[in-house]
Subunit: 324 residues, 2 copies
């Protein structure tokens, strides 16, 4: 039986899976990344993870591994498989695709996380059957991927989909990208935690502070969501502010790209029903009526598996392209 593999490479774990040519997962595994081993060590761990799965599924001498999809963080060139920068892993300009290809003796295709999220949700998740879909993930950062006219849209320099760096507040707080008032700088998990810590430090968010055991440094976006679920006004206020900005970002996407579906994932999207409601209302208040009528906002169907499923979707696509 022929099959493909997907790897979601993260800073802490390597999440791998094998799938048949219909995309059904045959087996999967998570192993620690152990980034202290350095680039070559990690690439070997990735190859070993695939070999272990092949043994587990008893596929070593049966069928062919047609292609491997890999999701990696940071800017990269999906044509050459070179990862330009992966701050989590301390990598710069590494030929990940080529190196993994020689270890596995199989074509390897590398793509960035957010684009794979879009591919995964489009092929097997909440965006199935749609032609124009936007995937947005809101966690520590904010990322996105675009499926336009049925295909992943990468842009002229493979940098499309940077939804998190849309300016939504021109004189807003500085973003790590250098710009001011990016969506990521005002509505990501990091931004939510930052604001809550500042308020806790100033004594204006006692409930949030208490939930963090009295240590402002331990406050995360999850603490804020927890406080909000208990009805804390301060926490609700912070989350509502972030949800409004995400609504503005979505309205801009809707007006510009007129998608039929926007799939929303990432931890911050689990901050409760109110968060979703405020975001949806803000979007519909701002976006053009006709475009609003076309679009559905839906939560991710793949959750934490979105990366590895996206990697499999990429491998399947490339395996098919190769057979054409």
């Amino acid at each position: 039986m022929d099959y493909v593999a997907g790897i979601d490479l993260g800073g802490t774990k390597i999440y791998s899976a094998l799938a048949d040519l219909d995309g059904n997962i045959l087996c999967e595994s998570k192993v620690p990344t152990e980034s202290w081993r350095g680039y070559e060590g990690v690439v070997e761990r990735m190859a070993a993870a695939i070999r272990d799965l092949q043994r587990e599924a008893r596929l070593v001498h049966h069928g062919r591994l047609l292609a491997v999809g890999v999701g990696a963080p940071g800017p990269l060139d999906s044509n050459t498989g070179v990862v330009y920068q992966a701050p989590n892993l301390g990598w710069r300009d590494v030929p990940l695709g080529k190196n993994l290809e020689s270890l596995l003796a199989t074509p390897v295709f590398v793509e960035n996380d957010a684009n794979l999220g879009a591919l995964g949700e489009h092929a097997f998740g909440a965006g199935r059957g749609s032609r124009d879909m936007v995937y947005v993930t809101v966690s520590t950062g904010i990322g996105g991927g675009l499926i336009l006219d049925g295909h992943l849209y990468r842009g002229a320099g493979m940098g499309a989909g940077e939804i998190g760096h849309m300016t939504v507040l021109s004189d807003g707080p500085r973003c790590r990208c250098g710009n001011k008032g990016c969506l990521e700088a005002v509505a990501s998990g990091t931004a939510i935690a930052r604001r809550a810590r500042r308020e806790a430090g100033a004594g204006t968010a006692p409930v949030i502070l208490e939930l963090a055991g009295g240590d402002p440094g331990k406050i995360t976006a999850v603490t804020v969501a927890e406080a909000a679920s208990r009805g804390d006004e301060r926490a609700l206020d912070i989350l509502t502010g972030a949800a409004r900005f995400i609504g503005i970002g979505l309205a801009n996407l809707v007006n510009l790209l007129n998608p039929s579906v926007i799939v929303l994932g990432g931890g911050v999207m689990e901050s409760g029903r109110l968060f979703w409601q405020v975001m949806d209302e803000e979007m519909r208040e701002r976006a053009l009526e006709r475009a609003c009528q076309t679009v559905r906002l839906v939560p991710t169907a793949l959750g934490p598996r979105v990366g590895v499923v996206g990697a499999i979707a990429l491998a399947l696509q490339r395996a098919r392209d190769g057979q054409d």
Copy 2:
């Protein structure tokens, strides 16, 4: 000889042209729209304009008119040729494509102005040879069209490209679309004139007021550009503010779509070198470095002919599709 036709339908004039299958214009004409004749009267004038051109080019009994492209204002369905709304002309839900088709006995393809601008610049103008191009026009309103992966991107409800309704100032002035702080509400020719009129009325823009013959109601964006060219600080300030907002809008486009070219047209883009410079700087300050390196900002190559040339590009494309 086989040929195609293009019509740019405006509120005041019907601009038509015939072109050979390489897109070379054979002859062209402008006639008043005379919208007071009502929908059917205008459709007949459009057909008559094409017939006159056929006679002028001595093509009546020679060769075939393979297709007609029509650019119309307002939201429309390019599949059915129905114009939903054309406020300039007082039309609602009119089957323009079908009606013109029966008068000319030739396939007619209707597309909105801004999309045709994008098609025209991509096929015959400043975006020639690019794969990912954005067309932005800044005049009384702000419109746009997207060429992505080499094709016009229309979106799920044919509403993509509404660059003018991107929120760039969340609590900004009300836009005619109902939203607050749209790019169009702060940086279009209308927005520039509105601000200048207010200042002139309040006595803070004497130079602009003088250029308008002392009547604030006569101030337009052209008056402001004129005052700026004479070094008037107030006018420079108003234009710089608008240029900054356009720069923010372009940065958002660059981060989201990573195009290789942005083609800029419309009267406001002729407000002087400073306007362009401020806009370009603001964009480069805000957009991600890698995406900035990929993109060129270029002025329209087609100017006021962009609509009719775009209509011809559409007709040529459809004529080719029909022959496949």
